[in-house]
């Protein structure tokens, strides 16, 4: 990663209002050995200031604006394979996620959200004592 910036997680009652044209970004979700879930979303073209990550009533929403990629003026499009997009996707969080310790950062067009598991639900090995 070249550089990464931390994104502040907002906890607000109102989710962002994406336009109809918003597309769902591609995501990878995996669980680490310590139980934390890591979500990686591709949001190419979205600047750090145009990213919104929220947690509300057990729903994690990510919104990002990558529309700045659109065509510069006075250029003819010889070939167009992609265009800037507005990204929006929502995920239901399990109760096991510790809402207060969610972290998000952005680097090279990737948004990485780390969702740690609450201490209380982490797997605990119980020692058997000889009776």
């Amino acid at each position: 990663m070249t550089q990464s910036d931390d994104i502040k997680i907002k906890v607000t009652p109102s989710a962002p209002n994406p336009s109809e044209k918003a597309v769902a970004p591609l995501v990878d979700i995996y669980e680490r050995e310590d139980g934390a879930v890591v979500l990686t979303a591709e949001i190419p073209g979205a600047d750090k200031d145009k990213i919104d990550v929220r947690v509300d009533k057990g729903v994690l929403t990510i919104w990002a604006d990558g529309r700045s990629v659109d065509m510069p003026e006075n250029y003819a499009a010889t070939y167009v394979g992609f265009s800037g997009a507005e990204y929006f996707r929502a995920f239901a969080l399990s109760d096991e996620v510790d809402r207060d310790r969610i972290q998000a950062k952005v680097a090279d067009g990737l948004l990485i959200v780390t969702l740690p598991r609450a201490q209380a639900v982490q797997t605990r090995k119980i020692e058997i004592t000889a009776g």
Binding site: P25, E33, P44, G109
Partner: protein, 146 residues
């Protein structure tokens, strides 16, 4: 309408590629409805043609600067790179895997001759922008009627 020509480039498929581009354009796969984002490991590109320069945009979300390699031979631009998988640690359990990972290479036949010494490449927020200055011979010139 672009002029069909068969340039003396090193890429034997350049003519076919150009034809494919034209067909895609005719089929209406233009800027307005192109909705491909995060194209796996075949990154989508845009080629924009200005009066003095060409701009090539390539969508490479998650690819770092050090994993990109750009080269120009004649009028053929090649972008090579490596998209690393999301998890860099072992023993993880994937629940969803939509992003691709691996090596990729895209060859772009440029619509005009360019000056290979005057090329700028910039990577920002997962978009690679390459600005290529056209060679003097390829620039449009206004001819005065005397």
């Amino acid at each position: 309408m672009a002029v069909f020509r068969w340039p003396n480039s090193l890429d034997p498929w350049s003519g076919l590629r150009q034809m494919q581009r034209e067909l895609e354009r005719l089929m209406g796969r233009a800027a307005s409805d192109s909705r491909s984002i995060g194209g796996g490991i075949y990154p989508p590109v845009n080629v924009l043609n200005g009066s003095d320069d060409l701009i090539v945009q390539c969508e490479v979300a998650g690819v770092s600067k050090d994993d990109l390699d750009i080269s120009i031979t004649g009028d053929t631009l090649v972008i090579r790179g490596r998209k690393l998988p999301s998890a860099d640690e072992q023993n993880v359990r994937f629940q969803r895997r939509e992003r691709g990972s691996g090596d990729f290479s895209r060859t772009i036949v440029l619509p005009d001759k360019v000056d290979a010494d005057r090329v700028e490449a910039n990577l920002k927020d997962g978009i690679l922008t390459i600005r290529l200055s056209k060679s003097e011979a390829a620039k449009p010139r206004q001819i005065r009627v005397s």
